[in-house]
């Protein structure tokens, strides 16, 4: 399957991926309405220490440990390999956050969990990748 791969040597630390993610998942057509003066809750985040920057989002693991820990069945891996979240089922216990080895789970104000779903509901190419100015995140087939 295609995954978002991270190439930290190219990352500028511009955080555009976070904004593009939040916009794509806002359900709104107007970027200004979606982002301006809003507390955004993107499913990708940039970690940095001044010298190093890189983006982190769900790895869509082969054998996702988050699913083994989910107490509600909200997390599922589809036949396409994408790990998705059902907000109707999620109760916000954050067991998945306790288990994800890469820190890829976040929450929204409703206290249910947000995670990257590779923009399966938003289009062919994840919005974060589309908007990255320096190809520091790429949507590509990766060999195991």
């Amino acid at each position: 399957m295609k995954r978002v791969t991270v190439h930290e040597e190219w990352c500028l630390g511009c955080h555009l991926c976070e904004y593009n993610c939040a916009f794509a998942n806002s359900g709104l057509a107007d970027m200004v309405k979606a982002l301006k003066n809003q507390k955004i809750t993107p499913r990708i985040h940039v970690e940095e220490d001044g010298r190093i920057h890189y983006a982190v989002s769900c790895r869509h693991c082969e054998d996702p440990i988050c699913i083994k820990g989910c107490i509600s069945g909200a997390l599922q891996k589809g036949a396409d390999g994408v790990v998705t979240i059902d907000h109707d089922k999620c109760v916000g216990c954050l067991s998945c956050m306790l288990l994800c080895p890469y820190g890829c789970i976040t929450t929204d104000e409703n206290e249910t969990v947000l995670k990257c779903e590779l923009c399966v509901k938003n289009g062919d190419i994840p919005a974060c990748v589309q908007g990255c100015p320096n190809r520091a995140i790429v949507f590509e087939e990766v060999q195991t």
């Binding site: 988050c66 107490i71 080895p101 820190g103």
Partner: protein
Amino acid sequence: MKYVIIGNGPAAVSCIDGIRSVDPDGSITVISKEDHPAYFRPLISYYLEGKSKAENIYCRRADFYESSNCGVIHSEAVAIDTDNRSVMLKNGESIPYDRLCICTGSSPFVPPMKGLETVENKYTFLTVDDSFAIEKAITKDSRVLIIGAGLIGLKCAEGLRDRVQSVTVCDLAPRVLSSILDDECAAIVQKHLENCGIGFSLGNTADRFDGNTAMMKDGSEIGFDVLVLALGVRPNIGFFKEAGGACGRAIIVDNEMKTSVDGIFAAGDCVEQYDISFGDKRIMALLPNANLGGYTAGVNMAGGSAEFDNAVPMNSIGFWGLHMMTAGTYANDENAQMIEEKGEKSIKRFFIKNNRLVGFIIIGDVKSAGIYTNLIRTQADISAYDPDALTKNATLLPFGENYRRKTLGGVV
């Protein structure tokens, strides 16, 4: 090959998945005491709270048993004949097996209490039927008394608060969640719960009951309409013990989830197994372990090869926005070094032993804590990492570019 599974919770359905990943054809029979398809037990409080709908609590889709080609018998297993490899049921049937997995979980423990028989509305809180029964018993004017301030008692309190007049929790222990939190952490949680409207009477418990009144140890009286007994649980292992199987406080299993009896496996809340953070066997009655152990058992029952060789306790709970996470071993170990990070509303404690992270407690700032859980589960040598970078915020920064290239650039 004939597979039989006793019990029908998360461990059992994961066991079915494990078997089917190796053997698509062998017959599987599940023996289930509860009259429901396998459901996520932790959701029984969220059901009361209105966060989980009754139709959404099940572990698998409605066609799971059929599509896994798996029969379900609604009865209770009462004995195992290990010589003839068969399971005796309460309904008189005897079910032959080649491979058996025991996934029976636990039952509420209710010690003898004076006058308990005079209480009409009393419940334990372990099954969805308990939830339904409590729901029937309460009105918006009910005063609920919960005995036991552990995870189950407090989750019950959370589930009920908005549906009743008052919820009071008492416990003989002087603090809430006494088995997972120390005094300081427990005080933070208790204060938050009090602010959210839960009443407490700690270091105190009911000496005896008279109808709707609890006479407390300290001489006071608490009136109630509904009583919930959440004093703890005991693993359901009686029939296995009687068959001569090795047990400590629960069924003893190895990393392949094999018991001491040939052909019999076990997983979930009814087992004790090696905890790599603790260095000894213990009960780790939590849902992730039930799934991981159940799947491992299934694979091995079907002739495949799998090991669950990194079991540690790991628990995440929240009450009205305050989250706490614990993993590994983090209590009273003189040989462990403790690193503490305190914030305004959060506390993080890391326990390090022989250059390995062996446990943590985090209250409040739980973001990305799985990075820490992973260090415990992989027993990573952390001596090369900057301790500050490690403990201040959970990120992948300390682990270096190679690790990130592998995990963020490849397939994991």
